[in-house]
């Protein structure tokens, strides 16, 4: 669906930013309108995705992972096979092409785990546009390898030491930096969050996941999936795969948030399940916050889901009932991570492991006719040092 003229999906979204940024958001909105109507723009986007990213990504039957508990067919969409190892690059390719079209001289981006930072640094290198990455000081320490990769790709990484020194603060800092250099700088947001038109634009660049997967299911199985499952941090991989099926009312859509240590505890990142409606980083959506409206510190085993907000379109899909949002704990995700590696020979990203964990319990309830499609949003290479450091024996 399209947001309304003010950028709302139902009552969620909008544009809650300082005035200094409004003109830049309007400029971006106009550019999107012209680019999206220009077949040459999409041709170039598709050719970069084909030759540089490696699309289309396949769908793959992961029956050994699902088998014990399920008669349903269980397939995963292999976004982990994309260049740089996750879906994030679909979006940064699109935004870099827009930045070039607009004549912007510099890309900036926030990053948490470093995946979006790496994906932005990658397109900056490819298109010859300088890149500055804002990353919480705590994350800079935790994700040293990704910091180094960004530097190898020619980007400058700026540690952010305000607030909780994590993704939320990196995002705020990127907004501030954008405000200071709004004329020549393009802010590449990494998920379907932020002020209008970002949630809509990022969704359009991730929609290719759902469009491809829908066609692949029809070609291979002659039917649509019964269920589509994706993890939700900010919500971009979920929004992308859901977008292919929004008009198929019989396809059930499941967003899986990180419960962390449990949605009733303070150590969670499940904004839609444990949050309330508020305004964060430019739009109205669900936010993990205190009763007074201060944004809470979050926790997830997976850095990519460790964010107190969520894209406004998901808030709308939740309210409308079109999608259902559930959550998976750190332990459940970790279990799925180990299981998927051993049964399928694919090490999933910890984020994607949340989707896999929920999809497996769903598979146990589904029958022979059902087809479960899971978005395997990324590969787990980036998580291996962390998991190895847990000092638990491999089960």
């Amino acid at each position: 669906m399209q947001p309304d003229a003010l950028g709302y999906f139902g009552e969620f979204g909008g544009r809650f930013v300082p005035e200094v940024l409004v003109a830049a958001l309007s400029e971006l909105e106009r550019e999107i309108e012209s680019a999206f109507a220009d077949p040459a723009f999409w041709r170039e986007y598709e050719s970069v995705l084909a030759e540089f990213v490696g699309r289309p990504s396949p769908v793959y039957e992961a029956q050994r992972y699902a088998a014990a508990e399920s008669e349903a067919t269980f397939v995963v969409k292999r976004e982990d096979l994309n260049h740089t190892g996750a879906h994030k690059i679909n979006n940064t390719v699109g935004q870099a092409l827009l930045a070039r079209r607009m004549g912007k001289k510099r890309l900036i981006a926030e990053t948490g785990a470093g995946q979006h930072g790496v994906a932005t640094a990658t397109v900056g290198a490819k298109f010859g546009i300088p890149v500055d990455i804002y990353m919480g000081a705590v994350d800079v320490e935790r994700q040293a390898l990704n910091v180094y990769i960004m530097q190898l790709l020619g980007a400058t990484v700026h540690p952010v030491s305000g607030g909780t020194k994590t993704l939320k603060d990196a995002t705020s800092e990127a907004f501030r930096e954008w405000a200071a250099r709004v004329h020549d700088t393009f802010y590449v947001i990494g998920s379907v969050v932020g002020a209008h038109p970002y949630p809509y634009m990022v969704r359009e660049f991730q929609k290719i996941i759902g469009v491809e997967a829908r066609q692949q299911c029809l070609e291979r199985y002659g039917r649509l999936p019964s269920d589509v499952v994706a993890c939700v941090g900010g919500g971009s991989n979920a929004a992308g795969i859901f977008a292919g099926f929004l008009n198929d009312p019989h396809v059930r859509l499941w967003g899986v948030e990180s419960a962390g240590e449990g949605i009733q505890t303070a150590r969670t990142a499940a904004s839609l399940n444990a949050g309330t409606v508020g305004v964060l980083h430019g739009s109205r959506s669900y936010v993990l916050q205190t009763a007074e409206g201060q944004v809470k510190e979050t926790h997830s085993i997976s850095a990519g889901l460790d964010y107190p907000g969520v894209g406004p379109e998901h808030a709308f899909l939740k309210e409308s009932g079109r999608a259902t949002y559930v959550s998976v704990t750190d332990d459940e995700a970790l279990h799925a991570f180990y299981e998927f590696a051993k049964t399928e020979g694919i090490i999933p990203a910890l984020e994607s492991a949340h989707a896999l964990a929920y999809a497996r319990t769903l598979a146990a309830k589904r029958g022979r006719e059902d087809l479960i499609l899971v978005n395997l949003s990324g590969r787990g290479d980036k998580d291996i040092a962390q998991i190895r450091g847990l000092a638990r024996p491999v089960p």
């Binding site: 003010l6 909008g14 544009r15 809650f16 930013v17 300082p18 005035e19 200094v20 940024l21 409004v22 003109a23 830049a24 305000g162 607030g163 939320k168 603060d169 705020s172 907004f175 501030r176 405000a179 200071a180 250099r181 709004v182 004329h183 508020g278 305004v279 964060l280 980083h281 430019g282 936010v287 916050q289 009763a291 007074e292 409206g293 201060q294 944004v295």
Partner: protein, 257 residues
Amino acid sequence: MALESIFKPGRLAFIPYLMAGDPDLETTRAILATLARHGADAIELGIPYGDPLADGPAIAAAGARALANGITLQKVLALVSEMRASLPPLILFTYYNLVYQFGLQQFARAAAGAGAAGVIVPDVSLEEIEPLRLALGAHTIDVPLLVAPSTPPDRAARIAGQSGGFVYVVSRLGVTGAGTAPDTKLLRAQIAALRAATKKPLAVGFGMSTRAQVDAVRGVADGVIVGSALIDAYTGARGEDAARRVSAFVDALAVSD
């Protein structure tokens, strides 16, 4: 209406900003009293928010200190209500999520009850301001809106039209902070364009930190807002000591001369 009356022809109004509860409420009380004695025409009082998108390091850090000290919107309203009789008009400055969680109507009632004259919420754009403006307007509280150097002229005119009390002219791109000086030539052009669009008073803020910068807008704008530099002046001190530093800073700035 109340706010408009602080501006007098041929005179530059002085509107200092400080963060309530930074580092504690005693210090804020002492600084407020000092500002009143040193000729502040109105005072902006920041209500701390953890993710202040429009603020640079000085004000963000001040907010973090206030939050660490347990300062809430309720406590700031109590302070306003306690001190307002001895102070020039007070303008609350905060972010939308705090107001939204409080409830717009409840907030308007509470702010009016405490005696606030104005409320500035920098992350609410012109397109979103109506509900807040109406809620506060019902209690005759002004809502000054911000115009940035990046604001196109037709939009600036519309913002000025909706702005209450005065128009807050952001002097440069970016966030608050006593870093780079505003570009005086650009600022003059921006103000000239606004004069053609509105009769409302124009107050300049963001980055105003020295006497020279203040003198550069004298005769151009109707008021000057000074925040980060004032916070820098008292940071590290408490109570009367902080207030003394503020009075030295304000004397050196010499806005009312």
